[in-house]
Subunit: 186 residues, 2 copies
C-alpha cells in the first residue's frame, strides 16, 4: 500500500529542510506532450531567496533535453516506500517508455509549470531553469523553485540517500540542537 | 574520547560514496600562514573523472577569500562524535580566532596542497579550485579533488546531515540493493 499525502503550499525559501540532507530525488519533466521521470542524486542548495538548486543531469539522460527545451521540471522527494521505483526508474530510458505508467505513478498538474508532479512522492518542488551557464561544460542546471508542495506530517520523511555501488543510506533519527546555535546561524 | 582513524589513499573518482548522501562537511583552508575551518552543507558531486565537487561558500565567510586567494581547501568529513565542533565552528568567525586551537582539532599536512587536513575527521579530500565561473554571481566554487584519505573501517561513517533550524538528521542503516541495478547504472 502506497502512502497518501495531503500536501500544502510550503515557503520556497524553506526547502533546504528537505534537500540539504542529500536525498535521492525523482525529477519529472514534460515536453511536447510526453512525460518523463529520472532518478537524481547530485544536487545542492544554492540560495534561499530566490530559492535556487543546482543539479547535474547528464546529457545522455532523455530528461536532459526535455528539461533544457521546456525550461522546467519538478523535483519530487520519494520516501523509502518508493525505493523499488527509484531504482527501476534509474534502470530504464525514458525515450522508450512512459515511466509513470510503467511504475504506476500518478502525474498530477503543477500550479506554475507544465511538468507533472509525482503524486506518490512526499514533496514536490516546481522548478524553472534560472541559469544555463554551466550546461555546456558540466551538464549542471541552476533551477529556481517557484512552488513547493509539502505535507504537514510526518515532519521529517524517511528518505533514501545513494552512496553508489547499489548501496543506499536510509535517513536516521533527527536531533534538535537549536539551543546550541547563535540565532543568526540557524 | 575522540575517534582515531588510520587513513589510506582512496581513489578520487570514488568519493561519491561519502559526499553524495549529503553530509555536513568541514572545509579547512590556509592562506598567508593562517589556518581556518568552516562548516558547509551546500555541496554536490559534479563529475567522477576528474573528481569534481560544486559547493557554495558565501563571501561573508572568512574562508571564502582564503580559498579564493589560495586556490585550495580540504573537504573533511566529520562524524557524529564531532557534532559539537560542527556547530561551534559554524557559530564563530575565523578572522578573530584560530578554530583549530579553539576546538582542539589537529591540523595535519596535506600531500598535494598547503591547506591542512583535520586529523579527527573520518575522511579528508584535498581540493584545488577548478572553475571560478560561478563565483561572482553565486559564490559557487567548482573544486577538483586531487587526493583522498579514507580509513578502511568503518565502511560507512555515522554522518550528520543538516536540515536547518538547528535540526540534524543522523545517517541511518545502509542497505545493499546492487542486485536490483543494471551493472552500468551502479
Amino acid at each position: 500500500m502506497r502512502k497518501q499525502y495531503k500536501k500544502y503550499d510550503f515557503p520556497v525559501n524553506g526547502i533546504r529542510r528537505y534537500l540539504e540532507p542529500g536525498p535521492i530525488v525523482l525529477v519529472s519533466s514534460r515536453y511536447k506532450g510526453e512525460n518523463n521521470i529520472m532518478t537524481m542524486g547530485w544536487h545542492s542548495m544554492m540560495e534561499f531567496t530566490p530559492s535556487l538548486i543546482g543539479c547535474l543531469i547528464v546529457d545522455y539522460n532523455h530528461s536532459h533535453e526535455m528539461i533544457k527545451k521546456s525550461g522546467q521540471c519538478v523535483i519530487n522527494l520519494p520516501t523509502i516506500d518508493l525505493l523499488q521505483e527509484v531504482i527501476g526508474i534509474g534502470n530504464c530510458h525514458g525515450s522508450a517508455i512512459d515511466k509513470f505508467k510503467k511504475f504506476s505513478l500518478t502525474p498530477t498538474p503543477a500550479k506554475q509549470i507544465k511538468a507533472p508532479l509525482i503524486k506518490e512522492c512526499y514533496a514536490n518542488f516546481e522548478c524553472k531553469i534560472r541559469d544555463k551557464k554551466l550546461l555546456p561544460k558540466y551538464n549542471f542546471f541552476i533551477l529556481e523553485v517557484v512552488k513547493a508542495h509539502v505535507p504537514k506530517t510526518p515532519k521529517y520523511p524517511k528518505t533514501v540517500h545513494y552512496t553508489g555501488d547499489g548501496v543506499f543510506m536510509l535517513s536516521g533519527n533527527h536531533i534538535n540542537l537549536s539551543k546550541k546555535f547563535r540565532p543568526e546561524n540557524l
